[in-house]
């Protein structure tokens, strides 16, 4: 839809503009809708299902359960997920891959319509994957997909998507992430976010710092704070409206090969280090912080989220919702139960529901 460059709120009274829009230094025609969508995605007790595996990645999941990676199987699997009865109690939105956004159920109901009818917001992964950074000798990457992004966003909005996702990937190492890697990834995230908001999509901003490495939790905390600080500085420069975005960060954990062990820092330590990092860097205007699971087991991903929401000894409250945007940590049991068989659909859906409910409780600190 063509959008009027002069937002209605500003013309209503030239001497008065509501602070929701002026704060942004960025006036989008969609401002109200973006804020409402981001708020809906940040309702405590709900989270987002990351079902946006690209064709290649879902192939890896299917390999693990002996399912052929063909379009019909991909469609059938996502139909299994979306038709799970009661799933909407724990799920505010689903991130989809482009192919899925345009697919339908066996009975012809479009996935977007099915989700909307259940009050689940459809979302879309819009990045085109990581590419090596030119001149970078350490194998660091940036994420591609900015070219033509505006047009694609408009197309996805017309199809029914109301939020998008873009994943930047950073690695901890000796003198890593480098300034080049950090700067470029943060910049791309900010431009992606601004383009999304111009086109009616709430951007999920995902700066994922991989757990790869032998570093301790301290190092991860330091890097996470540095990355988030840099990301928010770029978001501000690009005039992104914080009230209309979602942050999807990693949790602060020891490296997977650290002597402390991949997950042997206590759950409380992970929770405390993660919340500390956010309290230092994530502005209160952001409505929701929805964590990635990044390869954590379903149990760990739930337990960590729960520990964060149980709060700290000083009883301090956080100004953003802390919830989940999990892929593997929601789907692992489900995939294992399904094995590609129609007769297993009920069991697979039950598994999804069970894990979703656990994470819903975790987002309320009620596990």
């Amino acid at each position: 839809p063509a959008h009027d460059p002069t937002p209605p709120l500003a013309t209503a009274n030239p001497h008065r503009t509501t602070y929701r829009t002026t704060m942004a230094c960025f006036k989008s025609t969609y401002a109200d809708e973006l804020v409402a969508t981001a708020a809906a995605m940040s309702v405590p007790g709900k989270g987002v299902l990351a079902a946006d595996e690209s064709t290649g990645t879902i192939g890896k999941r299917f390999d693990g359960i002996g399912v052929e990676n063909v379009e019909e199987n991909r469609r059938a699997y996502r139909e299994l997920l979306f038709t799970t009865d009661g799933f909407e109690k724990y799920c505010s939105g689903v991130i989809m891959f482009e192919e899925t956004l345009f697919q339908s159920c066996k009975d012809g109901t479009a996935f977007v319509d099915l989700l909307k009818s259940k009050g689940i917001i459809p979302g879309i992964k819009v990045d085109k994957g990581v590419v090596p950074l030119p001149g970078n000798t350490r194998g660091e990457t940036t994420t591609s997909g900015l070219d033509g992004l505006g047009e694609r966003c408009a197309k996805y909005y017309a199809q029914g998507a109301r939020f998008a996702k873009w994943r930047a990937v950073l690695t901890i190492g000796d003198a890593l992430p480098s300034a080049q890697c950090l700067d470029d990834n943060a910049r791309c995230l900010a431009r992606y976010a601004a383009i999304c908001q111009q086109n009616g999509l709430v951007p999920i901003v995902e700066p994922e710092i991989l757990t790869d490495g032998a570093h301790g939790i301290d190092k991860c905390a330091e890097v996470t704070e540095r990355v988030l600080s840099c990301v928010f500085a770029h978001l501000m420069t690009h005039g992104v409206m914080l009230e209309g975005m979602i942050l999807k960060p990693n949790m602060v954990t020891p490296g997977s090969q650290s002597s402390q062990g991949g997950s042997s820092a206590s759950r409380e330590e992970v929770a405390a280090a993660t919340v500390t990092a956010l309290r230092r860097t994530c502005p209160a205007a952001v409505p929701g912080v929805l964590f990635l699971s990044g390869g954590q087991s379903e149990e760990d991903a739930t337990a960590h989220l729960d520990a964060m929401n149980k709060g700290d000894q000083q009883g301090r409250k956080n100004p953003w919702t802390l919830s989940f945007s999990y892929g593997r940590a929601l789907q692992t049991s489900c995939l294992k139960a399904w094995l590609g068989k129609e007769s297993n659909v009920a069991a697979a859906q039950a598994a999804l529901l069970r894990v979703s409910e656990a994470n819903s409780k975790a987002s309320l600190g009620q596990c």
Binding site: D218, E222, M236, L242, V252, R280, P283
Partner: protein, 399 residues
């Protein structure tokens, strides 16, 4: 309230002027035996021990006691002299001492005061009531004593008169002295002015000032003092509230990023910022509620949750306006605003006191003390959102 037991502890740093601070590196190697919870031992505050961090956090939270605020009495002898001269008071050391005494010792003032900022001269003056040095007088009453080290303003060349504050070079040994004298915090004020047509505050002015504030904060913490960082954007100008919001967000974002980049321990720092207001000469009317909402909007966009309190300066606002605005800000607070929001006032509290001396002979200490307590009660009520302002107070009316 109990006296500050912290004072009895061994000072964290050597109190001798000539001893250098012990070497600290940002990548401290921890012994295998020490617990590595990872909390705060990286990036922010990496140069501090757990005990030092806990101390700074404790002092910051005491400064941010809900319902209480800061009495800012840190005018240098020259500045306080101007206030004295305006009402015919002689600028003697005794007058400065006895005046500050009522600001610290008015009976019951401790119910309203979490902290006091002193000029270095005052640190070494004594109360005639107890004979104690003023820092001890304050901490015995549960009012955290702090200091404003002397700073010198300097117009940055090529910036249309916009300034930076000089004072970093000699800061560490001076802070060590003030710490030894009983201070628990320090304050550094970086004034900025909005002049839209001149493009001020420019990116360079903002960067230079905020980096200096960040470095000052780091030095404070290394010397065992909580830094109060004060980016003070003046009321001067005719810019509207929206412009003020944008500039405040830009300045404060830059400040907190600089602090993070410098490795400042955020949980052990305090903000003293201006209330976000339209320029004094702005031709658009705003209600006190619009002003309040704008203030919360700025904080939500850039003020880290890790910093527990912001104590607003008055900056030329009357006590009535400042209180009405602080009150409205607190009334409009929601779950999105976890910080304590209170006052750190000098002129707003003190100017009416000086008016009592006009045409009289010398300082009218008793009358000033009585009025001071009434003012503090108002300030405290505003900090709790329980003040009842008069009609129109806090609104921006067209001059």
């Amino acid at each position: 309230m109990a006296t500050l037991a912290i004072q009895a502890h061994r000072p964290l740093r050597s109190t001798s002027k000539n001893v250098r601070p012990s070497k600290r590196t940002s990548t401290r190697v921890r012994s295998a035996k020490s617990p590595t919870t990872g909390l705060g031992s990286c990036h922010g505050g990496a140069f501090l021990s757990d005990a030092e961090k806990a101390y700074l956090e404790k002092v910051a939270s005491m400064i941010g006691t809900p319902g209480k605020g800061i009495t800012a009495c840190d005018e240098g002898p020259g500045t306080i002299g101007d206030r004295f001269a305006a009402v015919g008071i002689e600028n003697t050391e005794e007058n400065r001492r006895s005046y500050r005494q009522i600001l610290f010792e008015s009976p019951g003032c401790e119910q309203y005061l979490s902290a006091a900022i002193l000029d270095p001269e005052t640190l070494y003056q004594k109360s005639t009531n107890s004979g104690d040095l003023f820092p001890k007088v304050l901490s015995d009453r549960g009012i955290v004593p702090g200091v404003k080290p002397h700073l010198k303003v300097y117009a940055l060349p090529g910036q249309d008169g916009a300034t930076v504050m000089q004072g970093l070079d000699s800061l560490a040994p001076r802070l060590a002295e003030y710490k030894a004298a009983g201070c628990e915090f320090a304050k550094w004020r970086s004034p900025l002015e909005i002049d839209v047509s001149a493009g001020q505050p420019s990116d360079l002015i903002i960067q230079a000032n905020m980096r200096d504030l960040a470095r000052y904060a780091l030095i404070c913490q290394a010397e065992g003092l909580v830094p109060i960082v004060e980016p003070d954007i003046s009321l001067k100008g005719d810019h509207d509230l929206e412009t003020a919001v944008r500039v405040n967000v830009k300045v404060q974002s830059e400040l907190f990023k600089a602090m993070l980049d410098h490795g400042v321990y955020m949980e052990g720092a305090v903000l003293k910022s201006n209330i976000v207001n339209p320029g004094k000469a702005c031709k658009t009317k705003y209600t006190v509620d619009e002003i309040a909402v704008a203030n919360l909007a700025v904080f939500r966009r850039c003020f880290p949750t890790a910093i527990v309190t912001a104590n607003f300066l008055s900056g030329g606002q009357s006590l009535e306006d400042a209180s009405a605005r602080l009150n409205a800000i607190n009334k409009h607070k929601t779950a999105k605003d976890p910080w304590n929001l209170s006052f750190s006032w000098s002129a707003a509290l003190q100017m009416p006191l000086f008016q009592l001396c006009k045409g009289k002979d010398g300082l009218q200490l008793e009358a000033m003390s009585e009025l001071y307590l009434k003012e503090l009660a108002i300030a405290s009520a505003a900090a709790r959102g329980e003040h009842v302002p008069g009609a129109g107070e806090g609104d921006h009316a067209i001059a």
